[in-house]
């Protein structure tokens, strides 16, 4: 049995690195992630709001109060100021949510878009800039103690996990469906090879590919952006590997019977998109509807992202994230079992 799994594992790895397009894609896509990260985090401003500044009368004196308030706003972090010479163009951008506020500092007039939450927030910032930072009506400022988690450190585990999800689901699912479609699986079926042997070989081959590319990306980004992992790397590897297992085996359930690549593609998209947005890869779902929060608990990616963040950001140990590990292990076992049972060598 192990011999058959081993020879298939080797054969699949050879296929993978000889298939130039898929091989390059698996190398290049993580590169894009690195490059994308470099652009997103190269400057520290990371603007959340965009203000259009309309200059009509250059060097014309303005009222002191307005000037102070404008200077106060300009010193606020996370606002990007863009100069415009044409008021109509600036208002057009505001109308289409391309900018959040339009300010004419020389006249003291500003425009907001009443339908835009960000426009509302920008207006509040402008008003606050005039009020002075000391006027907090008794609120006292404290900063988060110990190690503040940088935004990039929060986002990074999510991106890594998301990349893994795509590679795990599509990488294995498509190969199995293609093999079934062209009859290679039918040929395998008349050898002593068992479905679970075939599936395990596919899983470990993909796991091997995902681990090597992810470790490479992880090291490069960690070094470039000084990302700290507060917990142990071994714990991180454990939750990640369990995550890969669960998602590959999920792909094998999808690919267990169909010989239509289009159908498999549709189902995988149907699964990846909600996972991408509802597993807190990009943004926190804190305070969302209950049914969304329950829904996210169905996705393996949620547990991977959460587990990785707890280890990297909070220094959690494996015991701290045991729920995540148990759920991922259970999902892997259930999906592999269902995938093996449903598995069909030949076309329906």
């Amino acid at each position: 049995m192990f011999n058959r799994i081993w020879v298939l594992f080797i054969a699949r790895n050879k296929e993978f690195y000889r298939d130039r397009s898929s091989f390059l894609w698996n190398i290049i896509f993580p590169m894009f992630i690195i490059i994308g990260f470099s652009f997103m985090f190269s400057s520290n401003d990371n603007a959340q709001y965009k203000a259009a500044v309309f200059h009509k009368y250059d060097n014309k004196p303005v009222m002191t109060e307005i000037r102070d308030q404008y200077i106060g706003l300009k010193s606020t972090k996370f606002i990007e100021f863009i100069d415009y010479q044409n008021l109509d163009a600036a208002l057009e951008k505001l109308n289409h949510h391309r900018v959040d506020i339009v300010i004419a500092p020389e006249t003291g007039v500003y425009w907001v878009n009443r339908t835009s939450p960000k426009s509302y927030m920008a207006e509040r910032l402008l008003i606050a800039a005039g009020a002075g930072s000391s006027d907090l009506n008794g609120f006292k400022k404290e900063t988060v103690n110990g190690s503040e988690v940088k935004y990039i450190e929060w986002l990074f585990p999510g991106i890594i996990a998301m990349n893994m999800m795509f590679s795990a689901l599509f990488g294995v699912g498509f190969v199995v469906v293609r093999y079934r479609k062209n009859g290679v699986l039918k040929r395998f079926a008349c050898t002593p090879l068992k479905p679970h042997e075939f599936l395990i070989a596919q899983i470990i081959s993909r796991l091997f590919v995902i681990l090597s590319t992810t470790i490479f990306v992880f090291i490069v980004i960690s070094l470039l952006f000084d990302i700290k992992c507060r917990g142990s790397y071994l714990s991180l590897l454990t939750v990640f590997v369990l995550g890969v297992f669960s998602i590959i085996s999920m792909g094998l359930v999808i690919a267990s019977r169909t010989s239509s690549e289009e159908f498999a593609n549709g189902i995988m998209n149907l699964i990846t998109w909600p996972m991408m947005f509802l597993s807190e890869v990009w943004f926190s779902l804190e305070g969302s509807n209950d049914w969304i929060l329950y829904g996210t608990k169905l996705f393996p990616l949620t547990y991977v992202v959460d587990g990785m963040r707890k280890i990297m950001n909070d220094g959690a140990s494996l015991a701290d994230i045991k729920i995540n590990l148990i759920v991922l292990a259970a999902m892997s076992i259930v999906f592999t079992a269902v995938g093996s049972l449903l598995f069909n060598w030949s076309k329906e």
């Binding site: 020879v7 296929e15 290679v184």
Partner: protein, 294 residues
């Protein structure tokens, strides 16, 4: 003689179709059994049931007098009609992969020599010709040094030279006392390779014997082919069997002279006529009224 396989009243029904409709035959050890018939006759379904890939609706299969068990499935080799090879692997890697699935393996060098794969061992599976692909598939079917080999239309789509090449290999396999089960819609292939031929149509076996006996029994007549002659009505009251074929009209007769005389009397133009002795294809035409390859 030793019966290695017995198939008794095998049936496979799909909704609205009787793909295999009560087929019975037996195969002697070390012989080649040919299932001859047009596409859709039920040949592939029959052998896939024997191979254990499809479940029969009813019927019995006996391997050496007993129900086939795992020993049977590990002692057969299969070449399917349409299978692709794993992509991105070379010929040698593919053959080696399949060999390693088995405990009992054929010698790699022997397979390479037998199936003449020496020149293409390092070539990618996607870059080999149709004939080379069939030879590799045949070598894969022999990977476990099987006792029984199933070949499902092994030469369909190959050029004449590649077909002859493959026949030579099958002859060599036969000479090693292995049992071969072959499906084909080429009568020459069935005639050359098989010790016993079963002619199938619409899920039933309509004739079965050695090719020589079948020819002697059914094909002692000659055929006169009138090319581009479609006016069959002119011949309706004749005593001869007349068939319409792709080429024109075919008349079967046991007395050439008398038949030609008759045609001349009818003032039928014989300038494009050909005369030949009959083969299994004519037998099929005789039994079913339709052509093998139509």
């Amino acid at each position: 003689m030793d019966k290695i396989l017995e198939i008794i009243d095998l049936k496979k029904h799909y909704p609205g179709v009787k793909a295999v409709d009560g087929v019975t035959f037996s195969i002697e050890k070390g012989t080649c059994f040919g299932l001859l018939g047009p596409n859709g006759a039920g040949k592939t379904t029959s052998i896939e049931i024997i191979e254990g890939i499809k479940k029969p609706t009813s019927g019995t299969i006996l391997y050496k007098g007993r129900k086939p068990e795992s020993a049977f499935y590990s002692s057969i080799g299969i070449q399917f009609q349409n299978t692709e090879l794993p992509q991105f692997l070379t010929v040698k890697e593919t053959l080696d992969l399949f060999r390693k699935f088995y405990h009992h393996k054929a010698d790699l060098d022997y397979l390479i020599e037998l199936c003449q794969l020496d020149d293409i061992l390092k070539r990618d599976n996607r870059k080999i010709s149709g004939g080379q692909k069939q030879r590799l598939l045949l070598a894969m079917a022999l990977a476990n040094d099987p006792e029984i080999i199933f070949l499902d239309e092994p030469t369909t789509g190959l050029d004449p030279q590649a077909r002859r090449h493959l026949w030579e290999i099958v002859q060599k396999i036969k000479s090693e006392k292995k049992t071969v089960i072959l499906t084909t819609h080429y009568m020459d292939e069935a005639q050359i390779l098989s010790d016993t031929v079963a002619i199938m149509d619409h899920g039933k076996i309509i004739a079965m014997d050695s090719p020589q006996k079948l020819l002697k029994e059914y094909c002692s007549m000659s055929s006169i082919v009138l090319r581009d002659f479609y006016d069959r009505d002119l011949l309706t009251d004749s005593e001869y069997e007349v068939f319409e074929t792709e080429e024109g009209v075919e008349i079967q007769t046991s007395d050439i002279n008398k038949c030609l005389q008759y045609l001349i009397e009818r003032k039928i133009d014989l300038s494009g006529a050909t005369i030949r002795s009959q083969n299994l294809e004519d037998l099929f035409l005789y039994l079913t009224g339709s052509q093998l390859r139509s």
